[in-house]
């Protein structure tokens, strides 16, 4: 059996990336994710990898673009304001269909916001952030163990679909320590015949590009890309259901909030309220299936999130508004307490909707 190690969430991402075969990291310091860069700075030179501190978030995402185009497993990490700066590069990477892994250890916003945990980049991660029609696979870890396992999964999905995988974590999971194990994972490798390797004078030149001046060509390219997105929606949605079998009130929460929500669900059960939890693990693709099923069974949904209400829109879409969805939230770096979610569950049970 693999050893159990005590690790910070941010370090777990870095170690998992190395185990996934990532040998190129480009980043820029920002709280609360800097441990990822520090870990990479220490490790990469010892294993023949590259750690490079870029002059800006903009430069770092473009270094990632170049490295991804060169066919390498590559990543960058940042926190909310830094991810805004990367948005241009994310759009180019999507438009060029090259694989990359990007980590956002979220902090409160908008603007410079704060440095405490938040989930208010949900829209930015799942709906775009950069310009144009594109998607990223968005993975939301709820433990240090998942920081590691979803990072490995993220690299694999990125290569499989030639897409960006984003780890959408938050300052709490980034900073907290938990024991984790690294199972021996088989790292799949993917052929990358499109990569920039030099032609070797043996093939036609490869071009990595997102420019299509002819509108019919650009439309065709976008249609093709959305066929790929449909495949991802069909195959890759992940979620966890907790006490949902007979649930009448369904709490929906991801990341750190889901752990607070589990606590509230347990307490509610002790009070005789049939509460349950759906925890989306992929935020895009949003796991519609459990919501379609729950919409016919539960009285109400509660979206518990650390934002002014962003995921709630996807819950309404997934449930086709068949049942009321209420928001239970804190933001700006404040964390939901179990009692706050418990109150929301009690109200929903009584049919008193906030």
């Amino acid at each position: 059996m693999a050893d159990r190690i005590l690790m910070k969430g941010n370090e777990a991402i870095a170690e998992a990336a190395i185990r996934a075969g990532c040998r190129h990291y480009f980043g820029y310091p920002i709280t609360p994710q800097t441990e990822i860069a520090a870990y990479m700075a220490k490790k990469m030179p010892k294993i023949g990898g590259v750690f490079l501190q870029a002059e800006s978030e903009i430069a770092s995402i473009n270094m990632v673009y170049g490295a991804a185009a060169a066919g390498m497993r590559v990543m960058t990490s940042s926190s909310s304001p830094g991810v805004s700066l990367k948005a241009e590069g994310l759009s180019y990477i999507a438009g060029s269909d090259v694989p990359a892994l990007v980590v956002n250890v979220q902090r409160g916003g908008p603007g410079l916001g704060g440095i405490q945990p938040s989930q208010s980049d949900y829209f930015q991660a799942t709906k775009g952030g950069g310009h144009g029609d594109y998607r990223m696979i968005v993975l939301a870890p709820a433990s240090v163990q998942e920081m590691a396992s979803l990072t490995i999964k993220g690299f694999d999905l990125a290569d499989k679909y030639c897409i960006t995988s984003m780890i959408l974590a938050d300052g709490t999971i980034g900073q907290m320590m938990e024991p984790i194990t690294f199972e021996d994972t088989e790292i799949k490798t993917y052929e990358k015949p499109w990569a920039l390797t030099g032609t070797g004078c043996a093939r036609k030149h490869n071009i990595i590009n997102s420019l299509y001046l002819k509108p019919d060509e650009l439309e065709k390219k976008n249609f093709e890309r959305y066929e790929k997105y449909k495949e991802i929606e069909k195959n890759e949605a992940m979620w966890e259901e907790y006490m949902m079998d007979d649930a009448e009130v369904c709490v929906v929460a991801f990341g750190i909030t889901s752990r607070v929500a589990k606590n509230a669900v347990l307490t509610a059960r002790k009070e005789g309220i049939k509460a349950g939890l759906i925890r989306p693990i992929t935020l895009w693709p949003f796991p519609n299936a459990p919501f379609e099923a729950a919409a016919d069974k539960v009285k109400a949904f509660i979206s518990a999130e650390l934002s002014m209400g962003q995921m709630i829109e996807d819950i309404k879409l997934a449930t086709k508004c068949k049942k009321p969805v209420t928001l239970c939230n804190r933001c700006g770096g404040m964390i939901l307490a179990p009692d706050e979610i418990l109150d929301a569950i009690r109200n929903a049970e009584k049919g008193e909707l906030a």
């Binding site: 490079l52 903009i58 473009n62 170049g66 180019y92 004078c201 030149h205 590009n209």
Partner: protein, 250 residues
Amino acid sequence: MAVVFEKPKSLTDVPFHYCPGCPHGIIHRLVAEVIDELGIEGTAIGVAPVGCAVMAYDYFACDMIEAPHGRAPAVATGIKRCRPENVVFTYQGDGDLASIGMAETVHSAARNENITVIFVNNAIYGMTGGQMAPTSLPGQVTQTSPYGRDVNHCGWPIRVSEMLATLEGPEYVARVAVNNVKNVKNAKKVIKKAFENQIAGKGFSLVEVVSACPTNWGMTPKAALEWVESDMLPYYPIGVYKDRSAGEEK
């Protein structure tokens, strides 16, 4: 029949989209001839900018990528750090390199990133129809400086080569021009050195090529080349501004 002149192997058969009289064709050709002569067409990877040369990826026969505006040196850094055995170059204009991408330019030079940068300075934004560039001359009339560039209002043009030469980092910084035969010949020599430096592992080599934009300057091609001589070159003199290995044995 003897072949006396032919297209470099490192250029594709795709016809250039450049305006009549635009020196981009000459500069593309010089880069391609150098790639041919050094025998690196199979290992070269080029980075195209946003600007007039955006479609350079169609013209150079080596592997190519199109970078976001100004980010070519960062993209090139990512490629070179992954594939140090390949020869990586960027081809950028003045808006791309000296305005929106100045940070990427300065820092890749400061890191002595082992890449080759071809910087085409024609003192104007060409692709968007002739707006003021960071290198537009004082008094120069453009679409966004219709009364002439007023340095009290929008500052002075930037001499990129002189500025970069003050950095400890870069290996080689030189300025050339392509307004007459003599200057074109010299430009090729300098561009070749900038590629040779990379092959020798010496580091960041930038060649600023003073060029012309007859269309947006509102001049005939001939008048534009004369304006390079009379107005551009006095502000942007030809020369080698930094050569760390100068004087070393070959």
